[in-house]
Amino acid sequence: MSIGLPIAAAAPVIPKFGHASECVVANHQFCGSWFVDNFSSRFLPPLLVHIELTAIAVGVGLPISFAAALLARHYHWFETGFSLFAAFLYTWPALAFFVIMVQITGINRFTAEIALVSYTLLILFRNILTGLQGVPPDAVEAARAMGYTQRQTLLRVELPLALPPIVAGIRIATVTIISVATVAAYIGAGGLGSLIFDAIGTGFKTEFIGAGGLAVLLALAADGLLVGLQRAMTPWARRSIAR
């Protein structure tokens, strides 16, 4: 492999985007007006790609983890096996993982997604399983006794009651993936990471901080959205009296 990390240039290389302001020429920490002027052309497209990368990773990881959790409920060996497998994937340093995957599936978005999905599995699997195991057994017994089929019990009783830990898992996974996905730009996945790598190369601080800041804001926004979603979906959780 001949891919090496781009090394920051000794002197700042100022991009020639139209007329540069004094702030940009002097390469101050963060040039707000440049950021605003260039947001829609330079920052918005990678931001959207980043959202897409994250959504696909969590969106694919969720059903895989869910199926695995259902299997793990019935076969104890599967719980151990899948946990080890997911933990193995999770503990790989992101960059090393990406580089290894490139040798198998090439430099592209697909490779990045495989790695990102792998990172969601441990978190989602654990939380879904914990959630399902935490469903009060008396609610399940009542469901059976009233003539719910197994499927109805799962969908109408167990899943809604397991929702809080499951959503907690989705929140951790989402925030993690938003962060890890910046590294995926290294193997050509695009997203906010491509701006960060670019800024490392040019030394242009406004681009670096702008892209990094957007990733942080994206993580906060996604987390807040999921919290709101959970509140809306679990109205009973806030209306219980302490007994």
Binding site: A142, W236, R243
Partner: protein
């Protein structure tokens, strides 16, 4: 009661050598249980822990599979039905209640109606009707969540949910076991009143002999998976079949018998005009236990008994009459 369209008649349940053996155990959990519960009866299963009473109950709606033998409902084997269909026709109330915390009271009560495809409007009406029946307020309580209610209220909702489609049979597994004594007493009274209105065949499991005496039309005493004695409370208290049953019902079974009998059950002596006593007259509906208690606390050997008006007694009850009802030779009441 309701125009539910379902059979609101009660059904006969018959155990026909019903047996349960858990895998890897040599002892039978339920050992050739054979008896029938006539329609509309509350039959209490009682015995020490591990006697098989709960197992026997759960075999009826196949929460526990029968190993051999059979159970029939109105002559039809429970094995011949689709298990979900069977369960939707049998109300189930248990100690842990098992309300769905994520559903409103209305949706909890509407569980089985929804499964049976009732229209929404009808489910809402039925839920309101049932909530009122168990003593809660439909106007405020239908939209609330189970977590907002006390244990006693939750069990009322549990009972309402079990009766949603007016099932002919109800299985109750220590339904009031986790509830404080005062609330339990009220729930028992309310449930008996409810049962008089909405007659159902009920199997009621408890380990509390006092609850069994109060709730059961008949009591089945079990031990080691076998049925030891089946009879009315009075029969069992008067003539326990063996040492174990005698021990189980308690050394004070004489006093307990006095509680299941009222002044209506014994012969009174005729009262004369001079026997009227406003202060000490007892209503004819009093239990013999209460009458005896009053005699002891007042130091009287006899008390006037009235039906309507304390000033006009219909007879006199004597201490000897009460003690005579407990003698071995006295006749036993049948429910």
């Amino acid at each position: 009661m309701t125009g539910s369209g379902h059979s609101s008649t009660c059904a006969e349940i018959a155990f026909a050598d019903a047996t349960k053996q858990y895998e890897g155990r040599s002892q039978l959990a339920v050992d050739h249980l054979r008896f029938a519960i006539p329609p509309g009866e509350i039959c209490v299963l009682i015995g020490p822990s591990g006697c098989g009473k709960t197992t026997a109950l759960k075999m009826v709606n196949r929460l526990i599979a029968i190993t051999s033998g059979d159970i029939t409902i109105d002559g039809q084997s429970i094995q011949g039905l689709e298990v979900t269909q069977l369960r939707r026709r049998i109300g189930y109330v248990f100690q842990q209640i098992g309300l769905f915390p994520h559903m409103t009271v209305q949706d909890n009560i509407g569980t089985v109606p929804r499964l049976l495809g009732w229209p929404k409007q009808r489910i809402r009406e039925r839920a309101g009707e049932l909530l009122e029946l168990v003593g809660l307020d439909p106007a405020t309580d239908l939209r609330r969540y189970p977590g907002e209610f006390s244990g006693g209220q939750q069990q009322r909702i549990g009972v309402a949910r079990a009766m949603a489609v007016d099932p002919p049979i109800m299985l109750m597994d220590e339904p009031f076991g986790a509830i404080d004594p005062i609330t339990r007493d009220r729930l028992q009274d309310d449930f008996l009143r409810l049962h008089r209105e909405v007659r159902k065949t009920i199997i009621f499991v408890t380990h509390d002999i006092d609850e069994a005496i109060k709730m059961g039309d008949r009591i089945a005493i079990m031990r080691d998976g076998r049925l030891l004695q089946l009879g009315t409370a009075d029969e069992i208290l008067a003539r326990p079949v063996d040492e174990f049953v005698a021990d189980f019902v308690g050394a004070d079974r004489g006093l307990k018998r006095l509680r299941v009998r009222t002044l209506k059950d014994i012969e009174l002596e005729p009262a004369g005009p001079g026997d009227a006593d406003d202060r000490l007259s007892v209503p004819i509906t009093s239990t013999l236990r209460d009458v005896l208690s009053l005699m002891l606390s007042e130091g009287r050997g006899s008390l006037p008994v009235y039906e309507q008006d304390p000033a006009h007694p219909v007879g006199i009850v004597r201490l000897e009459t009460i003690t005579a009802t407990l003698s071995p030779g006295s006749k036993v009441l049948s429910a």
